[in-house]
């Protein structure tokens, strides 16, 4: 079906979790719970020691996953083992891709992309790899028949936007606001503005919006503003972190994740509902 195909007639729900947070086993259960809860695409983080695009919540997830021993090689095993219907997109930083060596000691993007594709990864998001440096990665993805998703930021001007839309495949990751990842209590005015700007681009690719979405209500409003999908990371990671801290049983935490996934998916779907928009809150 592929990544792009997962954006169907309904708006897509694209959750993020870090692989291995807080342990390989629990993490597997959580990813599967998201799948159960209605995920259309899953962004599965491969943890890197310097996650410069992440806020404290995802930094915490990454640190737990690293402490639990997650490595690029184990990540590939994780992808192989995890049982989801939604296609998996690998979200990581460029150095891990750059350093990767396969068994034949072939290295770099080419080796990693092929190894990941073999394991079942269908796309990549690499936050510190802007279009200018993306050549080798783009070629490797084309070669392996997987997607490379570009991120569009609120600061991205028209010239850059066009180039980004050109090079991206699978979907476009629309960063809804300035800053780093992290759930917020509101949908910023900036989000609406960014989406309005994007409406002008009749890109062929689906536009998934992330950064700050926490509730079904948020998701609904994002979709109503024109998004083809919502990306949710920190709000889900919070559930993992809270469960971990409280020492809750993995199945309980997984259920909570599935519930939140369901809320978010339902909210997103509601956003496409042609009925009257709910009045804006606060």
């Amino acid at each position: 079906m592929g990544v792009e195909g997962a954006f169907g007639s309904e708006p897509a729900f694209v959750p993020y979790l870090a692989a291995g947070d807080p342990s390989v086993e629990a993490s597997k259960a959580y990813v599967e719970a998201l799948d159960r809860g209605g995920a259309d695409v899953i962004e599965l983080g491969l943890p890197f020691s310097e996650p410069i695009a992440e806020g404290p919540t995802i930094q915490g997830a990454v640190a737990r996953a690293l402490r639990a021993g997650m490595t690029p090689r184990r990540y590939l095993g994780f992808v192989r083992d995890v049982d989801t219907e939604a296609p998996l997109v690998c979200m990581t930083y460029y150095n891990l891709i750059y350093q990767f060596r396969d068994e034949t000691e072939r290295g770099g993007p080419d080796a990693f992309v092929h190894a990941a594709a073999d394991a079942g990864v269908e796309g990549f998001v690499v936050p510190d790899l802007p279009v200018e440096e993306a050549g080798p990665m783009r070629r490797a993805c084309d070669d392996a028949g997987v997607d490379l998703v570009s991120i569009v930021a609120p600061t991205t001007g028209d010239g850059r936007l066009r180039r980004l839309l050109e090079i991206s495949s699978g979907y476009v990751y629309v960063q809804a606001r300035l800053g780093v990842t992290g759930a917020r209590d509101d949908v910023s005015g900036r989000t609406a503005e960014t989406l309005a700007r994007l409406q002008q681009y009749e890109a062929a690719l689906p536009k998934a919006v992330g950064f700050g979405i926490r509730t079904g209500d948020h998701a609904e409003r994002i979709v109503r503003a024109g998004a083809d999908g919502v990306i949710v990371g920190s709000a889900l990671v919070d559930v993992v972190a809270d469960g971990h801290e409280a020492g809750d049983p993995v199945p309980d935490v997984a259920d909570r994740l599935a519930d939140l996934a369901d809320e978010l998916k339902t909210g997103a779907v509601r956003g496409r509902d042609p009925g009257p928009a709910e009045p804006e809150r606060n």
């Binding site: 890197f48 350093q99 990767f100 802007p130 569009v152 600061t155 001007g157």
Partner: protein, 421 residues
């Protein structure tokens, strides 16, 4: 040097190194900055460089002197000259860059400054430049570095800066840079990130080098005037590499001048992969190619590509990466990458203090540790950059000296009860 080597072509590449590996949200700011760098700094638009030079003189105290070290010259049977960046306002070379960037931010219409700091010297320099130019300023600093460089923390605060502790990881420079990038990603529209070394995405490595090049331009002229000709060797300590790049720049084309970048060997070379720690900060000497903080360069990493925690007795060298141009110059064999360990650095600290009456920063002290160990391999006439003064390091030096093998240390008993310094 070819334009490829010096990065002035504008693509920000030094051989394979350099580039711009940052989140998209920052890319427009880097484009804007590259444009401003080319216009104001390289093109002196609106007299930017004239104003900077004047402020470096009147506020910063440039030129800094080049002076003969009589005692060291006798000891090593060589002519040893000290370039005295420790006399620059703020107490280290860092002000050259900080003042340049804060002024540039002003020309660009920015309203706020953020910066990371390791030793606190870059943060202090930035806070001072920001106060001088009336710009609000926030400094990110690792918790561990806050503890070991307290005088600088106080100085930043007295200068009106907000100092924000970074508690993730080991709490040193690497984490502080990451955290500052996160701030910048949030505030990029009105904020300039004053990066503190020749690291990070283009145009930072080129721009920071350019601001520090004044060190070697002065030193080269001073040496010619005061001594005659050119030195045989130029030595500078290297963490991120701003000190080396500034000290080497004007000598790069002088092929008979040997250039030595002295890294922190810490307590031993290599990387402990299991612990994810390097007991050193010698990324040039022992690191491997990777991508860190926006640039492809030499980094200390495990085989998977996870960046490891570095170590050095000197906070300002305690960094797992290094400037891409410096990495390139080492590959090209124009610059010798060398290193000395913590013991040698402390020995250098005490030697310069009690034989020349100059208390160096612990960062700087590595260069003198190198001189002590390897002077016989150097030519007749040696210039060393005293990149900073040691006032910020008094506490650390007193605490660490008894833990190390430092044959020339003074009687440390008289320093007892220094806990309350």
């Amino acid at each position: 040097m070819s334009s490829e080597t010096d990065g002035r072509a504008g693509d920000g590449k030094f051989g394979e190194y350099g580039g711009q590996y940052v989140p998209e949200v920052l890319m427009p700011a880097l484009e804007e900055l590259t444009d401003a760098y080319e216009r104001y700094v390289l093109g002196n638009e609106d007299g930017f460089m004239d104003e900077l030079r004047e402020r470096l003189r009147d506020f910063g105290g440039r030129p800094t002197p080049l002076g003969r070290a009589d005692q060291l010259s006798a000891r090593y049977d060589r002519e040893v000259y000290l370039k005295r960046e420790d006399l620059l306002h703020s107490g280290a070379h860092k002000l050259n860059n900080a003042l340049g960037q804060v002024l540039l931010a002003k020309y660009m219409g920015k309203e706020r400054i953020v910066a990371e700091t390791g030793a606190g010297q870059h943060g202090t320099a930035t806070a001072m430049a920001a106060a001088h130019l009336d710009m609000p300023c926030e400094i990110y600093m690792g918790r561990k570095d806050i503890n070991r460089q307290r005088p600088n923390v106080f100085r930043m605060r007295l200068n009106g800066a907000t100092v924000t502790p970074v508690t993730v990881g080991r709490g040193t420079l690497k984490e502080a840079i990451s955290e500052t990038m996160r701030d910048w990603a949030t505030t990029v529209e009105n904020t300039h990130y004053v990066i503190g070394s020749v690291v990070g995405p283009h145009p930072f490595p080129s721009m920071v080098r350019e601001f520090h090049a004044v060190i070697s331009r002065e030193a080269r002229r001073q040496f010619a005037e005061q001594v005659g000709g050119l030195p045989d060797a130029v030595i500078a300590c290297a963490g991120g590499g701003s000190n080396t790049m500034g000290t080497f720049e004007a000598f790069l084309d002088d092929e008979d001048v040997d250039l030595y970048a002295v890294e922190a060997g810490g307590s031993g070379l290599g990387v402990d992969d299991d612990a994810g720690v390097a007991p050193n900060s010698a990324s040039l000497s022992t690191g491997t190619e990777g991508v860190l903080h926006g640039a492809r360069t030499k980094v200390l990493q495990d085989p998977d590509g996870q960046i490891v925690e570095s170590h050095s007795v000197s906070a300002g060298l305690d960094y797992a990466g290094v400037g891409p141009q410096l990495a390139h110059l080492v590959d090209e064999e124009r610059v010798h990458a060398v290193n000395v360990d913590d013991d040698a650095a402390l020995e250098g600290f005490h030697r310069l203090s009690n034989t020349e009456g100059v208390i160096p920063a612990l960062e700087t002290a590595h260069a003198f540790g190198y001189l002590e160990e390897y002077h016989q391999e150097l030519g007749e006439r040696v210039v060393i950059n005293v990149s900073g003064r040691g006032d910020k390091d008094l506490e650390t030096a007193i605490e660490e000296t008894p833990n190390h093998d430092v044959p020339n240390a003074p009687d440390m008993d008289v320093f007892e009860g220094t806990g309350g310094m």
